[in-house]
Amino acid sequence: MTAPLVSIRGLSKHYVRGGQVIPVLVDLDLDVAAGDFVALMGPSGSGKSTLLNLVAGIDKPSSGTIRVAGVDIAKLSEADLARWRADNVGFIFQFYNLMPVLTAFGNVELPLLLTSLSRRERRERVATALALVGLTDRADHYPNELSGGQQQRVAIARALITDPTLIVADEPTGDLDRVTAGEILGLLERLNDELGKTILMVTHDPKAAERAHRIVQLEKGVLVA
């Protein structure tokens, strides 16, 4: 049996507000296999986005371990964690989070600036990624010249440009109409099926969750299914 790509043990996260301890995740265990497509569902405040942030290395747990490809990311320093994210995680956000002053091409190229690739190699990779999401002809367009679906495609191209170990998607269809949401989910399925990308997706939408291989339900910081 192969080891899971993501292995979470005894994970807890709490915040302190006005002297009061507010638990968000409580003693949580979860495994995600390499190549899996997992949907995290649950009501608002259940801790699903917090769990996603912890796995993606943009937040620190209060206790417990999070191993991704064998690395306990909870123990990494800020600088090491930044480097780890650049090498291992592709982010897809609900509101796309593109740089408005960069073209689609520039936005996709952005993560490659942290690599040692030459300019020519970067351009080739960006062109491939934009072709994959069907936006070759919009490479020179700025985000405000693109529709929501197109912006999310650019964000997906940016997420996969470094060939990450894990793609995390926080409500990737939350700001899109149903048809466009379907297209984006189809694209994520392709990344999973054809490129073997491991995807962890937070969603409120049961139809979106149906596209995943597995649905994980959270309620009040505890896994219920």
Binding site: A56, N97, M99, E109, P111, R158
Partner: protein, 385 residues
């Protein structure tokens, strides 16, 4: 090129805000430069003075003159290489608005003592041989359109009557620190005329200029000169030329301090305006900076984007401000006429302007950059939602 392009594009996201802030910096840096130049002009006489020259005047006041016979006694003091004498004339040319300094000098000794006054040999010869001859600085001659050979009438205020001089030469300065807005004429012409009308005012010099053999002996020679005339009817006060010039500056020191204070206040104000601009800019982009950090860029990199943007704005606008200082100073000098004989934007002023622009850029970016570098990614991402 990617990062500089990102910084440049970010800078012009809010064009109006950027242009207004840049305008503020341009005005502040140009004003700072102009005010510093005014202060420099005040000190120009002192800065241009020579350490090899002393000035001997009445110990009571500059208003009181000294007997001309002192010249030969001063010349005999050890360490003295040469002596010349000068009288302030204080005449009015056509109108009192046309103020410029006029001195009656013992021409051969005075011009020998001031080699920085450049006069063509032919003009020097013509000046020496004409009892009513005069020479004027290039700036002064240009201001009134004088040419060699012109007759210049001055209405005396200290020495009543109308005095007519023949312009025999126009001098230049060896460098731009030399005053070129002064008129010189022969001491003997003034002295002989005065002796006829006011015999008791004859053979008196306003001050003596002393050239030293060794500038290091300035203190000893000064003491020796003053000791020579101690307990006489006209005791002397001898000081270096620089100290003499600074004594005039000291009379208006409060004004100078105020001008200097205003010049720095202008910079502090624009620093606050710029800091507000950068704080607003950073706050609006928290989400973008958090995204960059999520993608793997470090806090230092993100902070660097803000610092670079701030510096680009401050230095870019600062350069325009510096460039504008030169025509502004030129216009100011023209408007002031000969009030400031030496008025130019010095290299030191330009360096100070550049330093001020750099400081504005760095200070304005400091707090926003620090905040962005420390912002938690999850908090920054919430700013997007």
């Amino acid at each position: 090129m990617f990062v500089p392009l990102l910084v440049l594009r970010n800078l012009f996201r809010h064009k109006l805000r950027t242009l207004l802030t840049a305008l503020g910096i341009v005005v502040a840096i140009a004003s700072f430069g102009l005010l510093r130049t005014v202060v420099d002009a005040w000190y120009a006489g002192a800065n241009a003075s020579s350490s090899a020259r002393l000035v001997t005047r009445s110990s009571v006041s500059l208003v009181f003159s000294l007997p001309l016979t002192y010249a030969s006694k001063i010349r005999q003091i050890a360490g003295v290489e040469g002596v010349s004498w000068v009288n302030w004339f204080g005449g009015v040319y056509i109108s009192e608005r046309n103020f410029f300094p006029q001195f009656a000098i013992h021409a051969p000794s005075y011009l020998a003592m001031y080699p920085e006054i450049l006069l063509a040999d032919a003009e020097r010869k013509a000046f020496y041989t004409d009892r009513q001859g005069a020479i004027a600085g290039r700036k002064l001659a240009d201001q009134f359109g004088w040419k060699v050979g012109d007759t210049i009438p001055l209405k005396g205020t200290i020495y009543p009557g109308t005095w007519t001089f023949n312009l025999r030469g126009i001098y230049d300065g060896a460098d731009k620190t030399v005053d070129q807005s002064t008129m010189f004429f022969h001491f003997d012409f003034l002295n002989e005329s005065v002796k006829k009308v006011y015999p008791r005012r004859g053979d008196q010099a306003g001050l003596f200029v002393v050239r030293l053999r060794d500038p290091a002996q300035a203190a000893a020679v000064s003491q020796a000169i003053d000791a020579t005339f101690a307990n006489s009817l006209a005791e002397t006060l001898t000081e270096t030329e620089k100290a003499f010039q600074l004594s005039f500056v000291a009379m208006t020191e409060a004004i100078l301090v105020a001008i200097q204070a205003v010049s720095f206040v202008v910079i502090v104000i624009i620093m606050a305006v710029m800091a507000n601009t950068m704080a607003m800019t950073a706050r609006e982009r928290y989400g973008e900076y958090a995204t960059l950090k999520a993608l793997g860029f470090t806090g230092t990199f993100v902070a660097g984007l803000i610092v670079a943007e701030s510096l680009l704005l401050a230095l870019g606008a600062g350069m325009v401000g510096i460039a504008l200082t030169f025509p502004l100073a030129g216009a100011f000098a023209d408007a002031m006429g000969t009030l400031f004989p030496i008025f130019f934007v010095s290299e030191e002023t330009v360096a100070l302007q550049l330093g001020a622009a750099l400081a504005v850029g760095l200070v304005a970016a400091a707090v926003p950059a620090w905040r962005v570098a420390r912002i938690r990614i999850v908090d920054g991402l919430r700013a997007v939602a």
